[in-house]
Symmetry: C2
Subunit: 348 residues, 2 copies
């Protein structure tokens, strides 16, 4: 199972040297692309889907950044593998349950990944640490251009890229950031913020995407509108909005510390003490403590821990990550114990 | 303020090398004694009380174990000092508020202490670590005999020692142990035990004596009946009952560990992690964690902590102990922060 290799690789978003990297964990952009000569996956039959997949996977071998990537056929991935990839944001909820001849291609450090035969023929995703949408945008453009020379894309000069779902037509682009907002959550200002985002054509989601709840004060913010705007506009607008949120969050943290320094320091220190010694812990509880620790680092409170360690824990303590490591689906209590062990090891 | 010396002395009950010392923290015996030629303190006037005090304190200078003891006059003790002494079980609640010419004599390591002009002319107390009532009994008998040669005790050959309150008449003796019963508390068997004690003529109290609630699963168990029994019988009966409770508690701990080892280990490890890092903490919360840590040591769970450290924390984190250390009455939040600091220091 080649997937296990991913377990020990350091993904791109774990770097933490970016400006505002204490608040914005990672940025992602995905492009929806379809082939001109084939029906959308929903309308294609098994044989058609297999032909699409062959064609796409073959073309990858001629594209820089992708030709060295790992290719996984969906039918080779068992349920644990799929949940594992979902937790890494490499595949979607739909793909977890899909019985189509799909595929996943994962480039070096997961900076780029492509789902084949999900809702669209290609879902090309770029990821980076911090608020670095422009870098991803540039990088994805190179890959997209290269692929477009290999594959005939379904494109209309009026509408733009044609996609399976009308909400993606146009740029076929969704840009999103994973952002940590404990200040706004603790001071009960988060609802207001999320409400105002909607008016700006942005949408906020929980940790695992659409319909999931926020864990550990982490939120995903992304654009809702893909049509009638240029790609640069989407990226630029999201950038400006997130920079504004970062400013507000930072100011709120300052106020919190000023008003309740002891309380805040105590919560952070307790989170640290707990995670260093815990013998069993749920992922939900873990996320609460991780949130305090990340806040603590951001507030420059002295602790024997780094952002990189926190990011490692965030990723590797997820349920399917633990199952994947152990090579089987764990019972809940057993998993909570192995999670605790994993955390203690990662904290060194 | 000579009291501050007590802050840094290691009291006798902090030793922890006794058999069953993991469950029984300390034993105490106190004797109520009165002088023949004086009215009981309640009936005496200021002048009479002063005369009693002089006479008693003077006699101490001729008694081994007491002549090197520290003598404190009640009027020299401010409210913080008195709360401090109460927390050390050296004076009673009544003595905290008393405006009589009283005194306190404290021997080496607090093994023996005497209140003068509390409810009785003399309240002689002996303390030891673990379940060691016999040792105290022997030790107090030596002191009591020596004092009886210096002072004329009020004694009736029919009734025994005469005391201010009829419930103490006879032996004037109360024997008690401080016992830690987390197993019985966690398994909801404690109420049953406390109920059965009453039928045996014993009484269970909270951590700070009569009318106080249990903190951290610590209980004081003592004899209720002082008359019509010999002193040896009181001691022997309490010993046998406590040994029985210790057996039950130990069996219960074994069951807890067998049924829920991970849960128990997790609670203990969390308590340890919290106390190592906490920045503010109430005494009530602290006691809960101390209870888990003491249980952990008893269950031989690996931790960087000793009974002696736990006993130090138990004693020195009490409110008035912190106030005494800082030399002033602290505000609650400030006290919680200094408590946290004290705990971290004592854990090393």
């Amino acid at each position: 199972m080649k997937l296990r290799e991913l377990l020990s690789t350091d993904v791109i978003w774990m770097d933490s040297d970016k400006k505002n990297g204490d608040i914005v964990i990672s940025s992602r952009i995905r492009l929806a692309r379809n082939l001109l000569d084939f029906p959308f996956p929903d309308q294609a039959d098994e044989k058609g889907l297999a032909a699409i997949r062959s064609s796409v996977l073959e073309s990858m071998n001629r594209v820089e950044y992708l030709k060295k990537g790992n290719q996984y056929l969906l039918e080779d991935l068992d349920p644990t593998d799929r949940r594992f990839l979902l937790e890494r944001h490499l595949i979607s909820h739909d793909f977890v349950h899909s019985s189509r001849p799909g595929a996943l291609v994962v480039g070096d450090r997961e900076m780029v990944s492509i789902m084949v035969n999900e809702e669209d023929h290609l879902r090309i995703q770029g990821m980076e640490s911090g608020l670095d949408l422009m870098k991803i945008f540039g990088f994805l453009r190179v890959i997209d251009d290269a692929l477009s020379r290999e594959l005939k894309y379904a494109y209309s000069s009026d509408l733009g890229y044609l996609t399976s779902c009308p909400t993606n037509v146009g740029t076929g682009m969704r840009a999103s950031v994973l952002i940590h907002l404990p200040g706004l959550v603790q001071t009960n200002r988060i609802e207001e913020l999320l409400g105002s985002l909607q008016k700006l054509g942005m949408v906020a989601r929980g940790f695992y995407g659409e319909g999931t709840r926020s864990l550990g004060d982490f939120f995903q913010i992304s654009n809702q509108i893909t049509i009638g705007v240029r790609e640069e506009e989407i990226v630029d607008k999201l950038l400006r909005i997130v920079e504004q949120i970062v400013q507000t969050e930072r100011a709120t943290r300052g106020e919190m510390l000023e008003k309740n320094r002891l309380e805040v320091e105590d919560r952070i220190a307790r989170a640290y003490g707990l995670l260093r010694h815990v013998q069993k812990i749920s992922y939900g509880e873990l996320m609460e403590h991780l949130s305090w620790l990340r806040l603590g680092l951001s507030l420059e409170i002295k602790m024997q821990v780094t952002y990189h360690q926190l990011n490692q824990i965030l990723l590797k303590s997820q349920p399917a990550h633990l199952d994947e490591k152990e090579g089987r689906e764990l019972a809940p209590l057993e998993r909570d114990a192995i999670r605790a062990q994993t955390i203690r090891q990662l904290l060194g």
